[in-house]
Amino acid sequence: AQSVTQPDIHITVSEGASLELRCNYSYGATPYLFWYVQSPGQGLQLLLKYFSGDTLVQGIKGFEAEFKRSQSSFNLRKPSVHWSDAAEYFCAVETNAGKSTFGDGTTLTVKP
């Protein structure tokens, strides 16, 4: 069965520091992978997606993610975090026929 693991429940970084959020997936075929962000009390917003081609994908808000097939990973990165990036981040893999399986999320706290 397909699954997504986000090993870090909570991460704290200082404003201006770099960020990496980890995501590992389990899926038999070539995966379609996504990162979403959720601000408190809101729905999820799509940050970026990977379907094929270049393994480094760019998204909105200055985020990028790198697909590594050998490690079954799709880690999210940002070179310099802003206080407004504090939120919960979800990694997802598309399963069959358009459905997605989500990880449990990583909560990001940004220290001033």
Binding site: G41, G43, L44, K99
Partner: protein, 116 residues
């Protein structure tokens, strides 16, 4: 800007009531989904639909039903609300139906339902 609109942000209902959660999208998307989100449990798929009149069970359909009479509207129904259905409910949509890839979901803002 494309949108998924959930009719209520907050709802308080009594145990045993029949509850309707409405979701409307303006993007002409084929797929629509209902998830519930609970602390420590992530997002769990309740039901989804690939087209009008079509519905498929997700991972936790018990106690729920859905209706999709028009392409843009997908309703979640709690037949007899119980306290363990207190949760955040998220509606989402995506294009392409069951034969195409999911290009990423567009989510509504969520409905926080409390059953007392």
């Amino acid at each position: 800007d494309v949108k998924v609109t959930q009719s209520s942000r907050y709802l308080v209902k009594r145990t045993g009531e029949k509850v309707f959660l409405e979701c409307v999208q303006d993007m002409d998307h084929e797929n629509m989904f209902w998830y519930r989100q609970d602390p420590g449990l992530g997002l769990r798929l309740i039901y989804f639909s690939y087209d009008v009149k079509m519905k498929e069970k997700g991972d936790i359909p018990e106690g729920y039903s859905v209706s999709r009479e028009k392409k843009e509207r997908f309703s979640l129904i709690l037949e007899s609300a119980s306290t363990n259905q207190t949760s955040m409910y998220l509606c989402a949509s995506s294009p392409n139906g069951p034969l195409g890839p999911n290009y990423g979901y567009t989510f509504g803002s969520g409905t926080r339902l409390t059953v007392v």
